[in-house]
């Protein structure tokens, strides 16, 4: 597959996922090499009242360490971040995170829309958004914000998703640059990796 829009000016990648996305995420993390240059910010729906375990489950396959950031933690090159349980994760203009316990959005906390929207506002056209399998429409508006700000948008191919509500909702309301299976998302990231060498 060819990705003509790619260049080395991107500053960050955000990934949203919910029901049915765990396997895809672990496959992706298993292929993201240690020297991958961009920060990857993940907002995945998870059990609200279980603080531990999720990171450990992701870590089994992930090459890089997965970090649940603290409030006001700086976003660093090449790090992999995961929104903590029961907090919304926002990206702030100074390239750091802030957390909040506001009401659930789309029945979710963390809400993918919040992470994607704030990342879009901060990184503008330097952002890549990836939305995976999921059973509600959280993340669709966030993908629209990424596109509206000039960023690049990817959804997991609905045909491959365990539950396709989430990527389909995004395809419905905004322009999606690539609709890809997990294998091709991995290939996309590997192209990015090459461009930054």
């Amino acid at each position: 597959m060819k990705f003509p829009d790619l260049n080395n000016t991107f500053k960050a990648i955000v990934i949203g996922g919910s029901a049915g996305s765990f396997q895809g995420i672990t496959r992706i993390l298993a292929q993201v090499p240690e020297d991958f240059p961009l920060p990857i910010i993940m907002c995945l729906h998870r059990l609200k009242h279980v603080r531990n375990g999720f990171i450990e489950a992701l870590a089994i396959k992930s090459i890089k360490e997965v970090i649940e950031p603290f409030d006001k933690e700086s976003i660093k090159r090449g790090k992999v971040y995961l929104a903590p349980a029961n907090y919304h994760l926002s990206v702030e203009l100074g390239h750091y995170f802030s957390l909040s316990t506001e009401d659930m959005v789309n029945n979710s906390r963390p809400s993918i829309d919040i992470t994607l929207e704030t990342a879009a506002f901060t990184y503008k056209n330097k952002l890549i958004g990836i939305l995976l399998s999921g059973a509600n429409k959280d993340g669709a508006l966030g993908m629209k914000k990424i596109k509206d700000n000039g960023g690049l948008t990817i959804v997991q191919d609905p045909a491959e998703c365990m539950i396709d509500t989430m990527p389909v909702a995004a395809l419905d309301i905004t322009q999606i640059d690539y609709t890809l299976g997990i294998e091709n998302i991995i290939q996309f990231l590997s192209e990015i990796h090459k461009l930054y060498k």
């Binding site: 603080r51 950031p69 603290f70 957390l99 909040s100 919040i114």
Partner: protein
């Protein structure tokens, strides 16, 4: 949904500062922006200017604004393991040197944390020997905290937390359900002093053995966190404790060296220097 720019936020914070003396300038931008958007939708303002004018012209509306701008999502026994440490380690430690335990809930919101503490102290048999002060910037939410009435749906979550806290009873021993609402046993908080207090502009008013300020400073930027932490530090007895939210950290704060970590997982710190 409309977009709000930083200049719009500044417009609002300036008016509030000049007119009412509250300073929201250093609130964390993302969540502050979302709250403003929410208020625009809720009250059907068609522009930030319209909201700014209403705030400026109508002090009663400003009270509602304060209520809407602050985040009031809270639970009883949020992070049950935190409450176990408070019961099993922190309070016994304080009682080695003090006869009474004094506690400040800074940013108490609708009061669930205050009830959690009161229940914990009651089960330890020392509620009568404790002094609790609970403060918030928002008068309306203090009223709700005082009333101790919660939705049954929230109580289900609170009960789950209480079980994981491993309390002595069933949580429903402490409330009654009437007309679909849960009424807390008010005798638990009869000695609690609920007061309006703004962490940003407010003065240091007392010293305490434990200050709980969990998931409050996440709404502030780092500069403001530093300022507020100085005040919290001043409000704690030497060798007293500070508890913050599980995903907050003192690491990058100026006064970090005046505390030691007592429990890193639960973010409980001990003041070791004045």
């Amino acid at each position: 949904m409309q977009e709000i720019h930083i200049v719009d936020l500044r417009k609002i914070t300036e008016i509030i500062k000049t007119k009412y003396g509250y300073d929201f300038t250093n609130y964390a931008i993302s969540s502050f922006k979302r709250r403003i958007l929410r208020i625009l939708e809720l009250y059907k303002f068609n522009s930030v200017d319209a909201l700014a004018k209403k705030i400026s012209d109508d002090p009663a509306f400003f009270e509602e604004f304060i209520s809407e701008i602050t985040v009031n999502v809270t639970e009883m026994f949020r992070d049950p393991s935190f409450w176990r440490i408070i019961r099993d380690k922190i309070i016994p430690n304080i009682l080695l040197n003090h006869k009474k335990v004094s506690i400040w809930h800074a940013g108490c919101s609708s009061g669930e944390e205050v009830y959690s503490m009161a229940i914990l102290l009651k089960e330890m048999g020392i509620l009568e020997d404790s002094k609790i002060i609970a403060t918030d910037i928002d008068d309306q939410i203090l009223e709700r905290a005082r009333s101790g009435v919660y939705t049954v749906k929230n109580m289900e979550l609170n009960e789950k937390n209480y079980v994981r806290f491993r309390g002595e009873n069933e949580l429903n021993k402490y409330f009654e359900v009437k007309n679909g609402l849960a009424y807390m046993d008010k005798s638990l908080v009869k000695d609690v002093s609920y007061r309006r207090h703004d962490l940003v502009k407010g003065i240091v008013f007392n010293k305490f053995d434990i200050v709980l300020c969990r998931n409050v400073m996440i709404y502030f930027n780092q500069n403001l966190q530093n300022d507020v932490l100085k005040k919290l530090h001043e409000s704690i007895f030497k060798y007293g404790y500070l508890a913050i939210g599980s995903k907050e950290s003192l690491i990058w704060c100026e006064i970090a060296n005046k505390f030691i970590v007592v429990n890193n997982e639960e973010k409980i710190y001990k003041k070791i220097k004045e």
